[in-house]
């Protein structure tokens, strides 16, 4: 029994290690362009994962991800610009801490709010961040935007796509590892319990306020980290990059499978592939395509591709 368990833990770990190995294969087989796209997919998945924990597990409906993401991107970039000697992992960690504080700051007043009220409050905070970015011109360059320094350690810059891809991939893998651990643990269970019913959850001794704050913090940290990585990938920041992203995360969640650990990654892939597939035909009306896909998933396959894959798998198994 004990051995069996240890074995499972070890095979689990091996899978993650295999994931790391894959990172070294991609640059060999993919062009720079596709590495860029792949890095972008991972970044979007990280931010969407934050939203996923909030909506899919905790029933905390948030429109705040783009704002949090922009905050992270600007915070990291300004930090690296002003203190160029800071190694980039430190920049990322400091950004994560700052994002956590922001999540706490915004989550706290939102605790009393529920449903639409909460959604609108997060939307408001998010748009306030954009307004502030454009307002604090001396710091952020306002509407014109600002140059974002590449990741660097003590003057050594990792400014090419392959390097950035490695960074993004490893951080993405770490986050995925952490999130799937939380999902299986006490906290994840408490969040899902809150999603399914606040009163019974409270009656089981779960402190709703505390857990919701945790959700807010996790959501904003993931968005903030995603923001920094995005600034590395793009190299230039403008608030518009982020403010137009708002609805993309919902599409990612719905198409991938909301409330599942791998849903955001699948969804992010689908979302980034849509323009590749339909771009030629519908370049003028991508929104139309996004809309049709979003409604299609919500009304026909609310569990997203993740659920469809699960069903296929069980069908195949039964067949064999």
């Amino acid at each position: 029994m004990y051995r069996e368990r240890e074995r499972r833990v070890w095979t689990g770990k091996l899978w993650w290690l295999a994931g790391v190995a894959v990172a070294f294969v991609f640059p060999l087989i993919l062009s720079q362009y596709y590495l860029f796209v792949l890095a972008n997919i991972i970044i979007m998945a990280i931010v969407a994962q934050g939203l996923n924990t909030m909506i899919g597990w905790g029933a905390v409906f948030s429109f705040g991800q783009p704002g949090f993401m922009a905050f992270g991107a600007y915070f990291g970039a300004i930090l690296a610009r002003e203190l160029p000697f800071l190694p980039f992992p430190i920049v990322i960690i400091l950004t994560a801490i700052a994002s956590a504080l922001l999540g706490l700051l915004i989550g706290y007043p939102c605790l009393r709010l529920r449903g639409f009220f909460l959604a609108m409050a997060t939307f408001g905070f998010s748009s306030s961040i954009f307004v502030l970015i454009n307002f604090l011109r001396s710091l952020t360059g306002g509407n014109e935007g600002m140059y974002a320094p590449p990741p660097a350690i003590g003057g050594i810059s990792f400014a090419n796509t392959t390097n950035i891809f490695f960074i993004v991939f490893l951080i993405g893998l770490l986050i995925q590892f952490g999130v799937s651990n939380i999902n299986r643990s006490r906290t994840g269970r408490a969040w899902r319990a809150i999603r399914d019913g606040e009163i019974p959850a409270a009656s089981m001794g779960i402190n709703i306020a505390k857990e919701k704050i945790k959700l807010f913090i996790l959501g904003s940290v993931l968005a903030g980290v995603g923001g920094v990585l995005y600034s590395y990938l793009i190299g230039y920041l403008q608030s518009d990059f982020f403010s137009i992203m708002g609805l993309s995360f919902f599409l990612i969640l719905v198409s991938g499978g909301i409330g599942t650990v791998w849903g955001p990654i699948i969804g992010s892939f689908i979302f980034m592939m849509i323009p590749q597939v339909f771009g030629g035909m519908f370049s003028q009306s991508m929104n139309l395509v996004y809309g049709v896909i979003l409604i299609g998933f919500v009304s026909l396959a609310p569990g997203g591709v993740y659920q469809i894959l699960g069903k296929l798998q069980s069908v195949v198994r039964r067949g064999v």
């Binding site: 009393r112 609108m120 408001g124 919902f250 929104n287 049709v292 919500v298």
Partner: protein
């Protein structure tokens, strides 16, 4: 200056009020917060633009066509998307309406591109001077039209059998069904009225704001207005709309104009801080 901005605020507030009342009517009946409401407004205004500017149809004839189009759009969306999701979760409905918004946006940008268009004024003319205050016929027209529309809506809801039935439905669906109120037709009616109100708002707003696919961003402000007034209350939405309109016009006198965009939100947070249910809202207790 202050008085002129105040009148400006009334005119902007009228638009917000129209849009948020439509949102609330739709929400009251089908419990769906329609995040595509602003897109209804945008696309109806584009239809109006096409009729009046591109095909030269006189305003008088174009307006009924546009209102009919918008009402029909509401009915179709209710029938084919919302009704299937009504028993589902809140995120599903939010995302479905977001999806409808995307679709309408995409349609509009396909047909008319994302450019900015000048929209003809319903109430043309330059400034008039009333007791030393300069106002445009447009803003007077907007305010007066809104008052007329609201009054009609009020009379419909309180004086007609259909309207009373609608109010009954919003207060208790089961009891309304037991009185013989045709529930599903009422849903369609609510979405149709919502569409009409959005179209009116669009035609009134477009001459000053210009017409573009970006117009639909008004949805979020309108939702905030509705929450400020006490979510789910029609008269609350009107109050919220005017409050936001007036504050966003007057406050830029005293604060940097860059910050104008967050005035509705700040107002929302202040109101919710003082009264968590909004101005006219009442507290509900969840039963277990």
């Amino acid at each position: 200056m202050f008085v002129e901005l105040f009148i400006d605020g009334l005119s902007v507030g009228s638009i917000y009020a129209l849009v948020s009342v439509g949102l609330v009517l739709v929400f009251q009946s089908t419990r769906a917060l329609n995040f595509s409401h602003g897109d209804f407004m945008m696309i109806s205004t584009f239809v109006a633009y096409a009729l009046v500017v591109q095909f030269g149809v006189p305003f008088l004839f174009a307006i009924p066509v546009v209102l009919g189009f918008s009402a029909l759009l509401g009915v179709v969306v209710e029938r084919f998307v919302i009704r299937r999701l009504m028993s589902g979760s809140m995120p599903a409905i939010i995302m479905a309406t977001l999806g409808i918004g995307y679709m309408l946006q995409g349609t509009a940008s396909t047909i008319w591109t994302d450019d900015i268009f000048a929209f003809p004024r319903l109430f043309p003319g330059r400034f008039v001077n009333i007791a030393g205050v300069r106002v445009t016929p447009q803003s007077i027209g907007v305010v007066v039209t809104t008052i007329l529309v609201m009054a009609t809506l009020h009379l419909f809801l309180t004086r007609t059998k259909l309207g009373t039935g609608f109010r009954a439905l919003t207060q208790n669906r089961t009891a309304a069904a037991l009185m013989g109120v045709p529930i599903t037709r009422m849903y369609a009616l609510a979405w149709a009225i919502g569409g009409v109100l959005a179209a009116i708002a669009g035609v009134l707003l477009a001459p000053t704001l210009f017409l573009s696919t970006g117009m639909s961003e008004i949805t979020f402000t309108a939702i905030m207005c509705a929450i400020i007034g006490g979510f789910g209350k029609i008269y609350g939405a009107i109050i919220g709309g005017y409050l936001v309109g007036i504050f966003s016009s007057i406050l830029p006198l005293y604060i940097p104009s860059d910050l104008q965009a967050i005035i509705p939100f700040v107002l929302l947070m202040v109101v919710l801080f003082i009264r968590p249910t909004g101005i006219l809202g009442v507290k509900t207790i969840k039963k277990v």
